[in-house]
Symmetry: C2
Subunit: 351 residues, 2 copies
């Protein structure tokens, strides 16, 4: 593969440096006509306050508690937590064939804003920065429990990403064991650090900045790019320029710059198909309460499902579930499209 | 964990023997109210012949070819193949950070029946057995290409599984490299065989047959069960009682018994929510043209997304994509529900 646009025509696979797994890329496949499922467009005329929303200020939640009249952001324990704090420690093993063990955890919900009708790209950089403050605060207090080993901060946005409430919010699941994706990324980053004495993502970032083929946005502290091994059509990553293990390392200036990067990527997403762009996004960072993790380099993944339009998504189904992730457009094409989009939200456009 | 129903109340994780990865189980979490996305019910009044369907007999396809007036099943090369036979062999490597290589393959489509309005559970055991004949025939002829290393036979059923045509059909993707899921299952099965001199799935099957907690159906040659480590709410596996590497080993009698198992599991699925049950399903079997694979034990996975009803599915999103697969009902609960369902298709019920 060579020429000015390598990898842009032939079916090929690419190595995901963070997991060691491959993704199959079929650049020619977008010609396929789509006769399949057309998603409903989500409603986009929400009121600033919804009396039936369990995240709006002053409303009562499932557990009977009343939300405060909060002005910025607000966090509480998930009323339907997947993990519980008081689960007893038990294990089950039948001939090494049926193997299970209990797991403890704490699940929280973070409302990003009192305003029911807004989403992350519609908040100001200062407002997003307040959300980052809260993430830092929660990360710190959750890691105060010595039994907690990993803290997953994430957001499901949009109905098609299983989000059951359009009020802008994210979640934090903190738990006593390492999740599978974290184990993979730990191993790969550790192997790289052991071999090269540098951070895998620092070296990767430097090469991407040199090439400028997949970079979407950059400021003094963060880069937004489409990873070389992206699986989802418009998948992106935010990577910190500094090699830090978790978000507690970010100072006030860096928090504003992260807020800017978050606003830029989510605004470009909304502008791509002029719709409130659905995604699941979340930070990956070092495990806690388990020694040093110099191999870890903070980053954030965005996994958005839309492929062709606001209503046609990529399905990760038969072949992808049973065999191997597969994508239809190249990461370079996706990066070029995202790069050229305005950082002004389409809803603010004056005609 | 002990008592008559172990693992049925506490959040816990279970080990997937075939991949070495864990699934998080949150048995208490079904109490959560669902305010999120409600899927559209798929149309279920199709004609037996649709002049616009590219799979119906005598119709013309995208590439201009005309389908024969076939009476049983019919196979052709996918007009929008993700993998191509004539891709040149090239690789790309920038400092071991950007790593890619071309991949060759052949993608085929198999129509299960000339009848546009039917689905697998609505075919007779004899008709399904003809589909298995064709799978055997294709597996054999594709493995005749010495460069093909793995053959994935699968079906995406239903709009929400990305199926773009309701005509009953499946696909085969054959390729020059091993997909990631196959690499995982190869490693785990090989490690088990090396250690125990028996097949992982034979030993697992024997234990499941002894316990009878997750078995849904059994005949002389196949068992249908909910695996102990199921991720999807009503996920199942068909496992052959004989330890065979691939479906070419099945004789006429076994093919009829596999057809029966397929009819039973898909009929029970349809009966669960009285809807044409969506799923992705596919066989896992030994790689081809790469020596012996005594570790491999033929099996078939069914990954169905529905959780609560015909219109509410499980979303594998934020936490699941970024951290770890997670499920809300126990595999034992799912197995008990599927087991008690009739093997008579709900559409045939007389009142
Ligand atoms: O080949 P089809 O049916 O057009 O497409 C479907 O199955 C493929 C294989 O699982 C997926 O890659 C596609 O996303 C899905 O829509
Ligand atoms: O917690 P929520 O928003 O009710 O639920 C959503 O996010 C969870 C975490 O990714 C998933 O397990 C659920 O399937 C999804 O619907």
């Amino acid at each position: 593969m060579h020429g000015s646009q390598p990898l842009d025509t032939n079916p090929h696979r690419r190595l995901n440096l963070l997991t060691g797994e491959w993704v199959l890329v079929s650049p020619h496949r977008t010609k396929r006509p789509w006769q399949g499922k057309i998603e409903d467009l989500p409603q986009d005329n929400r009121p600033a306050y919804d009396p039936k929303c369990y995240l709006c200020p002053t409303n009562t939640r499932a557990d009977g508690e009343t939300n405060p009249d909060y002005q910025e952001s607000f966090v509480f324990k998930n009323d339907f937590s997947a993990l519980l704090e008081d689960t007893p420690n038990e294990s089950y093993n039948q001939k090494d064939l049926l193997v299970a063990q209990t797991e403890r955890g704490i699940c929280k919900v973070i409302s990003f804003s009192p305003k029911h009708h807004l989403t992350l790209p519609e908040l100001s950089v200062a407002e997003i920065s307040k959300v980052i403050d809260l993430w830092q605060h929660e990360f710190k207090s959750l890691s105060g429990h010595p039994w907690i080993k990993y803290i997953q901060i994430f957001e499901n946005k949009g109905e098609i990403m299983g989000c059951s409430n359009p009020h802008p919010h994210g979640q934090i699941w903190a738990q006593s064991e390492l999740p599978v994706e974290i184990i993979k990324e730990s191993e790969r980053q550790k192997a790289y650090l052991d071999k090269h004495q540098t951070s895998l993502l620092s070296d990767y970032l430097n090469l991407e900045l040199e090439k400028q083929e997949r970079i979407i946005f950059e400021n003094d502290a963060f880069v937004v790019l489409v990873p070389f091994w992206a699986v989802w059509p418009y998948e992106t990553m935010i990577i910190s320029k500094r090699h830090v293990q978790n978000l507690l390392a970010f100072d006030e200036q860096e928090k504003l710059l992260l807020a800017e990067a978050l606003k830029v990527v989510t605004t470009k997403y909304d502008n791509l198909f002029e719709t409130s762009f659905p995604y699941s996004a979340g930070m990956h960072q070092a495990p806690v309460n388990s020694g040093d993790h110099p191999e870890w380099h903070w980053h954030m993944h965005f996994y958005p499902p839309l492929l062709r339009s606001a209503t046609v998504k990529k399905f990760m189904v038969g072949y992808e579930m049973l065999a191997n992730p597969q994508r239809d457009i190249t990461p370079e094409y996706a990066a070029a499209r995202l790069k050229e989009l305005s950082t002004e939200h389409y809803k603010n456009k004056t005609l």
